[in-house]
Structure formats: structure tokens, C-alpha cells
């Protein structure tokens, strides 16, 4: 009887069906319950704060260290943003080169896959050694980690054009560049955004790992510093700020996708089935 339609995309206009709840309501409810249980558990079993701080202690630390955290968040945010943009540019460029220059692409692609198997996180100390404690080694680490999903998805997108359509373009005299520009690249956009969404979360990881390896600012640095001081509530607050930052960046990419690729099947609620 009380069917609650989960997704806001449902086209069912029947009056007997209740208005759907916004997606975040059940998730938020579950989170509140989990936080309450956590608080209760810590208090009940007298867990020491430096082992597991209660949510209230984390919140207190968040308020107390807010300036400190904000300054660190700004440093990390800039690293993530610049690193992500560089990753996107490099990732797209590599995909375009592989797709456009097939022979060179056949040589390059296996090398990129091979390189993907190097544990990139382990490169962080080397980059620090080469470039010092500034932003450069973090950006390099981010690019090395995050360009790969962009390249792979972009490439899949460029190659997703149906061969018969390529024949059609060729038959009226369109050359490879024209086909690339007018057909392949627009076709690749929905795929590209799938890659960019992975890349933005990888960029956050890259920035934090870079700061772990050697930094004097940023949220990764705060976590490392606070943990040596056994200031676990501050570690958790910094983690919270990183998560919120990552989530915000992710939604910016998703928003850009909605704006730039409105024909993507997942947004097209008018889709008809035949």
C-alpha cells in the first residue's frame, strides 16, 4: 500500500503513491543514528580520547582549531584543484594522441598500462626528493595517480562511435580531424566525465599522500602532526574536513557534467523505451 518511490526520476503520477522522499533523508537519518551509537559506546565503555574520540570531542576540536584547519584546507584544496585540472589536461591529451595517431598509440598504450601497475603512492618520497616540500611534488603525484582514469574513459568514449557512422562521414569526404572534432569528441564527453569523477577523488588522495610524505602545510600535514601529539580528535576533524572537501569537489564535477552533457542517458528522464 504505502509504496514510497525511491528515485525522484519516477514518472508515476498515480495519486495513491506518496510523494518521494528526497534522496538524502534516509542517509542522513542513518548517519545520525550511527553517530549517536558511537557517542554512547565511547561514554559507556570509557574509551580513552586518544584512541577513539567521541563525536562530541571531534566537534569540539573542530571548533577550537577552525582557523588552523581552514588555513590547512585552503592549501590542500588548491593542490587538489590544480592537480585535478592538470590530470584532466594530461589525461585528455594522451587519449587524443592515442586515438588520432593509431600507430603511435599502439606503442604508447601498453606502456601507460604498464606504468599504471607501479604503486604510485610509493613514488611520493622520490618526488619530494626531487622537488622539495613545495606544491610541485604534490601536483606531480596527483597527475601520476589521476590522469589514468581520464585517459581510459576518454579513449573508450572516442572509440564508442559506431563504425557505420564513421563510414557515413568518410563517404561525404570528411577527414579524420573533422570526424574527431565533430563526432568522436562530443561522443566521448559522457565517458570523459565518468573518468573525471574518479580523477577528482584520486586527486584528493594524491594531495594527502603527498603531504604525508613531506609538507609543512595542508590537511595531510595536520593529520600527521596531530597524530604524533596523540591529538586524535584533531586527526578526526581534519579527516572530516578532507571528506567534506572531496565531496564538494565531486559535486562540482557532477554539476559541470549536467550542464555540459545534458544528453547523457542518465539525466534524460524523458527517455522512452520501445
Amino acid at each position: 500500500m504505502t509504496e514510497v518511490v525511491q528515485s525522484g526520476m519516477s514518472q508515476d503520477r498515480s495519486d495513491t503513491v506518496r510523494r518521494p522522499l528526497p534522496d538524502f533523508v534516509p542517509a542522513a537519518g542513518l548517519m545520525i543514528v550511527a553517530l549517536l551509537l558511537w557517542e554512547l559506546g565511547v561514554r559507556l565503555f570509557n574509551v580513552p580520547e586518544f584512541v577513539v574520540p567521541a563525536p562530541s570531542a571531534v566537534f569540539r576540536s573542530l571548533i577550537e582549531s577552525r582557523y588552523h584547519l581552514m588555513v590547512a584546507a585552503k592549501v590542500t584544496a588548491i593542490e587538489v584543484l590544480v592537480g585535478f585540472i592538470l590530470s584532466a589536461v594530461v589525461g585528455i591529451a594522451v587519449a587524443l594522441v592515442i586515438a588520432r595517431f593509431e600507430r603511435f598509440g599502439r606503442a604508447l598504450y601498453p606502456l601507460i598500462v604498464l606504468f599504471q601497475n607501479v604503486p604510485k603512492v610509493a613514488l611520493a618520497p622520490i618526488f619530494i626528493l626531487w622537488f622539495g616540500y613545495d606544491m610541485a611534488p604534490k601536483l606531480l603525484l596527483i597527475v601520476v595517480i589521476a590522469f589514468f582514469p581520464v585517459t581510459i574513459d576518454m579513449l573508450a568514449g572516442l572509440q564508442s562511435v559506431e563504425p557505420s557512422f564513421v563510414s557515413l562521414m568518410k563517404s561525404v569526404g570528411a577527414n579524420k580531424n573533422k570526424i574527431m572534432l565533430r563526432v568522436r569528441i562530443p561522443h566521448a564527453l559522457p565517458h570523459l566525465f565518468a573518468g573525471l569523477k574518479v580523477a577528482i577523488t584520486f586527486s584528493v588522495i594524491g594531495a594527502i599522500v603527498g603531504e604525508f610524505a613531506g609538507a609543512n602545510a595542508g590537511l595531510g600535514y595536520v593529520i600527521q602532526f596531530a597524530s604524533t601529539q596523540l591529538d586524535t580528535p584533531l586527526v578526526f576533524s581534519a579527516l572530516l574536513v578532507i571528506s567534506v572537501l572531496g565531496l564538494a569537489f565531486y559535486y562540482v564535477v557532477e554539476l559541470a557534467e549536467r550542464f555540459l552533457v545534458p544528453w547523457s542517458p542518465k539525466y534524460d528522464t524523458r527517455q522512452r523505451s520501445h
Partner: protein, 280 residues
């Protein structure tokens, strides 16, 4: 119109009586594909002559080379042997001069463009200098011709399979080609839509007078639409018989019950079954 098998080597210069009637002339066409280092003959010594303004079908079991032959006519696959001309010139030249329009099994519309923009897209690609208003005007007229008067602003995702294929036909017609080559254009559609589309195509042919070459699996479709059906067989892939269809025109739903229709249908079925048996 099938040319008799002659032993003469394929001349690229065609004699006068041929050009007067035949628009597409293929002589001794053979196609080899190289697959994994092995050459394989996918089409063997095909002679074909297609009169201007006629409706011709290529029918046969899978693997008989009918799609390959269509691609040769379109200039997409160069023949390994023999010669082919469309309007007296090589097919790839003819395609660039927009003599040839192509329709495939998949409509392949661009999902970020609406029906009108899709219908105009190929014309605007072929002719960089054409004014947008002119291209859209022609695309609009072609959408009307294929029966999509009110769907101009719809996106491909909002169109049914049949409607998408109509847009693909309009896109080909917007080039104003002399010849329309269609590779199983209705193969992915359900039976009822298919019949609707056959009638739509018949109507387009009658109104525009274009030469149409249709690759199909459907005997009914071939008989209803064609002046001539080329039956193709395998082992090696070639044309095994050319059957003129004498069903009276104009044709329509009532044509299905005509004796000439039934006779042609029976003959085609016999040929296809025989050809299929030899394959399996």
C-alpha cells in the same frame, strides 16, 4: 538487367546503350579480405547493372556478401578485381559529389542534436559553405517527406526506433543524392513498424524517383518494393539469380494478394532455401 557473364576483361569505358539506362554498372567485381594474414574471397565475380530510377533489392543468407556488395557500390570497400561506376565515375568520387546517400541498420543519430540538426548534419559536413538556413530548410523538407512533420525538435532519445530510422533516411535524402543505398535499414525494427517503413520507403521512391538499392533479409519487403531482386548465395559469395518483379504499380497493401506477388515470393523462397541448404 543483369549483364550476361562475358569472358571479356572488365572495360572501364562503358558502351553507349548501357549508360543510357544503367546508372550503376559493376563488372566482374571480386572482393578479398585479409583476415589474420589469410586472404579470403568474400565476393566472387559479380556483374550488376542497376537502371536509373529503379528500385533494386539484394537478398540472401548471411555471409553471402550482400552488405559487402553494397559497400562496394558506396565506395566504402574497394573491389580487389573488376570495375564499378556510379553515374560514370568511381563510387567514392560519386559519394563526395553527393550522388550517393547511405542508410545503415542502426540510425546512428547524434544524441546531442535534435531531429532537425541530425537530418542537416551530413549535408553540412559534406558542404562546408552551405548556409545554415538552407541546410535546415532542406532537412526540414526531408523530415516532412519521411513523415516526421512534428518531431523536428525532439532529441533522438525521445524518438522510437522507426522514427529514428526515418530521421536517418531524411539525413541521407538531404544530400539530394541520385542513388540511395540502404543496408538492412529496417532490420532492427519490429514487424509492424517494418511494414510501415516499407510503405514509407515506397512512397519516398515514388515521389522522388531516386535509384534505390536495398539490402534485406525479408522476402516480402523485397517483392513489395523492388523492380528487380538480386538473389545472392554463398560458397563462393555471388549473385545466383536476378528476378524481375512484375507486380503492378502503384503498389500498396493490396499488392500482397496479387498472383504475381505470390509467384515472386514463392520463387524467391525457393531460391533462398536452396542457397541456404548449400551453405549449411
Amino acid at each position: 538487367m543483369m549483364l550476361a557473364e562475358t569472358a571479356a576483361p572488365a572495360p572501364s569505358v562503358v558502351s553507349a546503350p548501357d549508360t543510357a539506362e544503367a546508372q550503376i554498372i559493376g563488372r566482374h567485381i571480386a572482393v578479398d579480405f585479409t583476415h589474420a594474414g589469410r586472404r579470403q574471397r568474400v565476393l566472387q565475380s559479380v556483374n550488376i547493372s542497376i537502371p536509373r530510377g529503379s528500385f533494386v533489392s539484394l537478398i540472401g543468407p548471411s555471409g553471402c556478401g550482400k552488405s559487402t556488395l553494397l559497400k562496394v557500390l558506396a565506395g566504402l570497400v574497394p573491389p580487389s578485381e573488376g570495375s564499378i561506376t556510379v553515374d560514370g565515375i568511381a563510387p567514392e568520387e560519386a559519394a563526395k559529389k553527393r550522388v550517393i546517400g547511405l542508410v545503415f541498420q542502426e540510425a546512428t543519430l547524434l544524441p546531442w542534436k535534435n531531429a532537425l540538426e541530425n537530418a542537416a548534419f551530413l549535408l553540412m559536413t559534406a558542404d562546408e559553405s552551405i548556409a545554415k538556413s538552407e541546410a535546415f530548410g532542406r532537412a526540414e523538407a526531408m523530415l516532412k517527406l519521411v513523415g516526421l512533420r512534428d518531431a523536428e525538435n525532439k532529441m533522438p532519445s525521445q524518438l522510437s526506433g522507426g522514427m529514428r530510422q526515418r530521421v536517418a533516411i531524411a539525413r541521407a535524402l538531404a544530400l539530394d543524392p541520385q542513388v540511395l543505398l540502404m543496408d538492412e535499414p529496417f532490420g532492427a525494427l519490429d514487424a509492424i513498424t517494418r511494414e510501415e517503413m516499407s510503405e514509407c520507403l515506397l512512397d519516398i521512391w515514388e515521389r522522388t524517383g531516386k535509384t534505390i538499392v536495398l539490402v534485406t533479409h525479408s522476402i516480402d519487403e523485397a517483392v513489395l518494393l523492388s523492380d528487380e531482386v538480386h538473389v545472392m548465395g554463398t560458397g563462393p559469395a555471388r549473385i545466383i539469380e536476378t528476378l524481375p518483379i512484375t507486380v503492378a504499380r502503384p503498389r500498396g497493401e493490396e499488392s500482397y494478394s496479387e498472383p504475381a506477388f505470390k509467384a515472386a515470393e514463392k520463387r524467391l523462397r525457393g531460391l533462398l532455401i536452396e542457397s541456404h541448404r548449400r551453405t549449411s
